[in-house]
Amino acid sequence: MNKFRMSIICFIILLLTMSSVAATCNIIIITDPTGQDPNGAAAGSMSFADNMFQSTFLMSKNNQFAVLSGGTGSSDTRLDSIVEAVASLENNVSAASAASIASSYEGARLLVGGPNIGAAIGGSFDAYVITVDDASNTIKVTPYNSGVATLQPGQKGAIIHLRNTDGNPMYGTAESVRKETAMNIGKMIRDGYPATTILSEAMGEVANDSGEKYGGGGVNLVSGISTGDMFTPKDMNESGYPMDEEYSKVCDNCGWSVGYPTSENYDKCPVCGGDLTTVFAYEALGSALTVSPSSVSVSVYGSDKPGLASTTKEIVEASVAKYGYDASAISGSINRAINNGLLMGVNHVEPKDINVKQGSKAVGVYYKALPGDRSSPSWDLPIDGNILNILGSIQTAVGIILILLVVFRSRLLKSFQNR
């Protein structure tokens, strides 16, 4: 009887430990601690579990830090720990002490970091810390599973946490995949790939090999880009987009693209007939986060008219490529586009309406929307609009009277003759 009771207790303990191993995949990668490279720091989260909303990969654009979370605790526990970590990071505490907050919550895990503060993981985790030495190009991969593991500020490297979720058909692969992916991340950092590319490759590898594949999503910490709700689930208690599956098809020639499942109907590009390339979800994550060095981040204010923001972005990029970061040149280009009818429903801009920040490659354009349904700015004429209006009305009236006179000409003439 006693033996039986013992075995039951052992079984219950085993169950408890099993369920506490269920978790997600969190990765943070820093390839440029100086913050110069717009793609120099990235972070992302995935899981086999449900409800991988944006709260699992939060980012602060102003302070350049990311808070990735996970763990076995209830969602309330996780939220409490996130809120406390964000609050303390906003007060400029170190990454290590922010990550250590997780250990005061049951089952929670926090992976925090940024290009300036390094990175740290705390709470309940199984992680590898990867460091790459600049001078000697040596890769160091160290496993940690308790306390707080840190990547020092100013150091190139990464932290990857990976565990298997219960019910994952590939349960038990986490151990080897974590090590494999950590090695590959190290090699790619050494070879000089930007952090966003490495993140996309690493997430692809984890999704394919360990099955912890549902987004989630990622963030680019230096440029402040998040995948937002690209891969997150739409409703509660659902899983997100599987990162190892096809996301869209893109035409190699003209750039036409269509998302899944609609794209299953297309083999050739309907616009130019070119071949279509299949883009997997993890690749889509990479291209959404990666900023090309020539691109300019353009913000449009003052009007939410459809198409305005994207057209303005094109115009500003072309202008910057041709004339550089010059407010008057950019306003000239935009005004030309307004005159040509490329941009509709906004008034002409002046150089003071253009906010140029060359350092961060950002241009802000403040538009003034036109009143009513007007599509183009009002003309500058020397004559007052009201006079023209009256003149036009009189002319129209005279014309109509003339027509009436002609129509009833013979009858009018006759009635005059009769008098």
Binding site: Q54, V83, Y105, G385, G392, T396
Partner: protein, 146 residues
């Protein structure tokens, strides 16, 4: 010829046609060169400032719920939306309330402690300034295990 028309009749008709055409053209020019507004100021856009972790789209959507959305028009002190007419002051009040209820996506965390909503009555631009503070977020149950 089916219809017999004298030449001078034709000339007069042509003249009348020209007159009407020119008249209409001048009326259009008058419209195009005037910048007067006589039918209210439409809401042209929402600028969000001061947010950091809460996405701009979340705050913008909440402010739109208060009536400051595409298709709404300001007539003096009245905001006319697609659903109802409200006083501009009330709409601003509601917008501020709604903005403070913006959450971190997928959670019930509401880190916006204060919001200020301004409307430019000449351009129709809505400016939302928020203060985001995670240290004063109140959650219903504290789950910290001390």
């Amino acid at each position: 010829m089916f219809v017999k028309i004298r030449r001078d009749t034709l000339i007069i008709l042509l003249l009348a046609f020209m007159l009407i055409l020119c008249g209409r053209l001048i009326t259009y020019v008058a419209f195009a060169s005037s910048d007067e507004i006589n039918d209210g100021i439409p809401i042209s856009g929402i600028i969000v400032k001061g947010n950091d972790i809460v996405p701009v789209d979340t705050i913008r959507a909440n402010v739109m719920q208060a009536g400051f959305r595409d298709g709404s028009v300001i007539y003096g002190d009245v905001l006319k939306t697609s659903k109802r007419e409200v006083s501009l002051q009330d709409a601003l009040q509601t917008a501020q309330e709604f903005a403070t209820q913006s959450t971190v996506p997928g959670t019930s965390v509401m880190p916006i402690t204060a919001a200020d909503v301004q409307v430019d009555k000449n351009t129709g631009v809505v400016t939302v300034t928020v203060i985001e503070d995670f240290s004063s977020v109140e959650l219903e149950n504290d789950t910290r295990s001390r």
